[in-house]
Point group: C2
Amino acid sequence: MTRKELTDKIRERKNFLCIGLDTDIQKIPGHFQQFDDPVFEFNKAIIDATSDICVAYKPNLAFYEALGPAGWKSLEKTMEYIPKGIFTIADAKRGDIGNTSKLYAKTFFSYFQFDAVTVAPYMGEDSVTPFLEFEDKWVILLCLTSNPGSNDFQQIRSASGTPLFVSVLEKATQWGTPENLMFVVGATHPEGLGEVRSIVPDHFLLVPGLGAQGGDLDAVFSHGANRDVGLLVNSSRDILYAGSGADFADKAREKALQIQRNMSLLLGD
Amino acid sequence: MTRKELTDKIRERKNFLCIGLDTDIQKIPGHFQQFDDPVFEFNKAIIDATSDICVAYKPNLAFYEALGPAGWKSLEKTMEYIPKGIFTIADAKRGDIGNTSKLYAKTFFSYFQFDAVTVAPYMGEDSVTPFLEFEDKWVILLCLTSNPGSNDFQQIRSASGTPLFVSVLEKATQWGTPENLMFVVGATHPEGLGEVRSIVPDHFLLVPGLGAQGGDLDAVFSHGANRDVGLLVNSSRDILYAGSGADFADKAREKALQIQRNMSLLLGD
C-alpha cells in the first residue's frame, strides 16, 4: 500500500486505529475451543466486527508461533481473510545479517503479503535495508518502545548528547523515506513522541501502548500528529477482550467505535 | 542443557563447533526437490554426517519461515531428529514487551525444545528476562554482531565512553548468570572479542562469522577462550554447501572434521 492510499483511508474512515490481533488462545471465549482452528475463528469474528471501522490490523507473530506450525497456518488464513484495502502489519521485530533479513522480508511481504513489518535496529543498516527493497512495502523500525525496558538502552546518550533512539532516527532516515519507513514510538513516552516528530516531520509513527500499557490518546495526538495525521495508534487487548461472553464481538465493535469516535474528534471531523 | 554438560561435551569431542542449519532450499542439491520435505531431508543427511562430531546445531529461523507453515514443520522434524546431548540453538533474534517475549520463550523452549535462543537487546530488561525463567535453558544475547551494520549502533560511545555493546554486557549480567546467559560476538571483531572476554570472563560466547564472512579461528580462540573454553564457534555455509553433488554429505563431514581438528589443536589435545 502506498503512503497516499494509507492517508486516504485515514481521511475516509476518520480514524487512525490499528487493531492488534494478539490472539491468545488462553483468553478467547471458551466455545472457540470446539473449532479445528480456534485462533483463526476468533480472528474472523473480530475482523467481521471491525473491518469497516479500523485502518490497519497488526498480528503479533509471537501469539501465532507459540502454537507451532498450526499457528502459522492460522496466521496465513487470517491474512487471506482481511479485506483488501486495510493496511496490514506483521509485528515480528525481525532483523539479521543482510542475506538473512532478505529471507525474512520475503516471508512477510511475498509469502504472507503483509504491507509492513516491524524491524529491530540493533544490527544496523544491512539488517534493515533488505526490507526496504520491496515496492509499496514498509519497514516499521523500533525507535522508542512502550515497555519499561525502553529505558535500558534506547535513552543512553552518546558523547555528543544524542539518545540512542535519536541515532536510530538519524541513521534510518538515510536508508528509507517517508514512503517506505515508519517508526515505533510508545504511547507511554508522550514527550519522546514530540521529540521524534520534530526530527522526522513526515514519517508515519506506529504507536503501541494505549490502554493496558497506560498511554493516552489525546497526548499521543497532540505530540505525534503531522499534517497528514502520520499516526497509526494500536489497540489490542482492549478491543479483543472487551467482552468474554457470547457477545464478545459486539463488545469489540463497540470499543473500536468508541476509539474511532475519539479519533474522529481529534481529526476535527 | 546445563553449563557443565555443555563444557563436558566440548572436552569429550575436543571441539566447540556449532553447525548452522541455514538450509536454503535454493542451494541444496537438486535431487532433494523430489522429496515432500526437501529441507528436512537435507538436514537429516547433514545431521547423519556430522552429529558424532559437533557440539551444537543452530537453525536460523529465517530459512524455515520463508517457506511458511511448511517450513515450521521442517524445523519441528529437524529438532526431533537431532540426537539428544547436542546443544540446540534457535537463531531467532526475538525480543518484545514482557508478556510477548514470554510467548516466544514458550515457543522455542517448550514447543520446539531448544536449549537456547538468540535474543535482540534493543527493548531492554523485560524483553529478555522472560527467556531466563526456564530451567537449564539459555538466552544468547546479541552483543557485537558479525555484519557490517554492527558499526552503526553497537559501537556508539556514551557520554562516559562506554560503547553500546559494553552497556549491553553490563546490564545483561545483572539479569542472567554464566549458567543461563551467553553473548553473540562476531568473529569479524577479534579485538572486540577480547574486550568482551575481559568484561565477562565466565560467560559463553557464540561466535558467528567464520568463513564466508571472513573471521579467523585462531584469532577467535586467542581473544575469546576462557578456562572452560567458553566458546561456541558457528559455521554454516562452509559445511552445508561444501559439496553440491551426490557426495555433498561426505564433503560436509570432511569440512566439519577439518574444523574439529583445528579446534582440537587449539585446545591442546
